[in-house]
Point group: C2
Chain length 332, copies 2
Amino acid sequence: MAKRVAIMGATGAVGVEFLRILEQRAFPLASLKLLASSRSAGKTMPFRGQSLPVEELTDKSFRGIELVLASAGSSISKQFAPAANAAGAVIVDNTSAFRMVDGIPLVVPEVNPKDINTHKGIIANPNCSTIIMNVPIWPLHVAFGIKRLVVSTYQAVSGAGAKAMAELEQQARDWAAGKPVSKSVMPHQALFNVFSHNSKIGANGYNEEENKMVNETHKIFHDPRIAITATCVRVAVLRAHSEAVNIQFSRPVSEQQVRQVLAAAPGVKIVDDRRANYHPMPLDASGQDDVLVGRIRQDPSLEGGVGIDLFISGDQIRKGAALNAVQIAEML
Amino acid sequence: MAKRVAIMGATGAVGVEFLRILEQRAFPLASLKLLASSRSAGKTMPFRGQSLPVEELTDKSFRGIELVLASAGSSISKQFAPAANAAGAVIVDNTSAFRMVDGIPLVVPEVNPKDINTHKGIIANPNCSTIIMNVPIWPLHVAFGIKRLVVSTYQAVSGAGAKAMAELEQQARDWAAGKPVSKSVMPHQALFNVFSHNSKIGANGYNEEENKMVNETHKIFHDPRIAITATCVRVAVLRAHSEAVNIQFSRPVSEQQVRQVLAAAPGVKIVDDRRANYHPMPLDASGQDDVLVGRIRQDPSLEGGVGIDLFISGDQIRKGAALNAVQIAEML
């Protein structure tokens, strides 16, 4: 059952996490090939006590490969998917290239694992903010029926890659040294700041990240009727996303019922200590597989007991990207 | 018309801002007395080219004082208000001590200036998050009628005082120096983190900050029918609060109508450049009198065109506290 695997974009933030997760989960590997741009070719990366070479990604990279974990950017995925499929490999793609393409499954294993079976060579991994929201929201939708979601995100810079993380760290070092704080990866200073998500704003006034949360959730849930509005915001956090989620159900739901469903939900960990005021935080979620869920409370602004407020945190690089993709690969 | 003024809590973050604003606005002063705890007595603070002494706050501090600007904590305000009123002084109180007391006006000058006239010696200054939300929300309520608000905050540490700001700065210095990051003012590390607001959680599951946003808005607007739910969160920002606000109106409202109302609203500055992806940020709002409003867009998750999403930023110490109190004093 061991697979011959290639990682596209092995040297990026998600690529590094792919290696860590394949190690930690003892993924059955017959071989592992690390692929990246020509700039990174020749480097080595540690894996299971060995030192693996990074090779330049070309159309010929996929000979004998059965599974590709891709996270080298949307245009790279579009460019190399045909060659990978032609060589017989299945691609689990972490970019936005194929997510909304009809016939290509978009999968969160805790939500729609059966969609994996419909693949024709490509399985898309959803956007990080979408995955982190969907893991706790799906079991609540199954149990009670969700009518509308209002979500505001507190997103780590890691979503813009390892360079954005390094930039925030450098800003902290420069500030501490009394030097001017500069930025080139992100459009605005992240240190001691908050800014609207750095994706393009569309004709509807929502940015791409916000539109992804709406459209991808509809596809993953197979339910376009759920009304969703999102405000996506970057905060000065390195690698876990948080989200304030207001839920309107189609029928009355108590806090206790929500707690019971979430306590039994796969991939969810309840962190909700009102007395100690201890709730989900990105520093705690970093490095964890589970999405942390807390601040569970009945929203009195909706009549009839149909509203619930939540606050969640999940590791953007892990469950928001690499882990979700490896979980899909494990199910193949 | 010049007044004999005393500042209670002169050495705190808001106290320092009181001095700055009295200078900048050329507030008519016959005299200015700086009051603080015995620990700070004997210090001096610069004001209009002079060096003013800080005196210990006692019941006898108010002789001859006509106006007290108070920001030394709720219990201090409760303790000294009777003495100040007995001496004939009017108190503009920036603490939560009297905000929800029947008969004591709670005022945002852009919203309910006439309530000032009903005072009997005390006028309460609202919570910072409430003020910053109310300035742009009120003119929209007057124009179109608001039915429900869902708000998520991105709050600076300055709301917990100058010590909390110094703690975040020290965390950045320690992190940059490779030292362990510690905390004693805030319950959690603020640097590279986000955490649920550090106020006590009540029986309804909402923390005090969230309940203030609901109850104070109802009192200021004289309209308890507006449904409000809030999630209040601290971010690693020094001194300006941001808020994602989802508004449900009682009738259809277009983006264009909202822009027109906000463009004419006092205390509001529209910062909403979709092409450049430039929107309200706490770094920009810091030091500004106006509340910045952007990301103005029609929310398609509400049927009938009754929904609007906004993102706002306002200086927590300035409009959220000291400036609002001085504006009240100017109207007296």
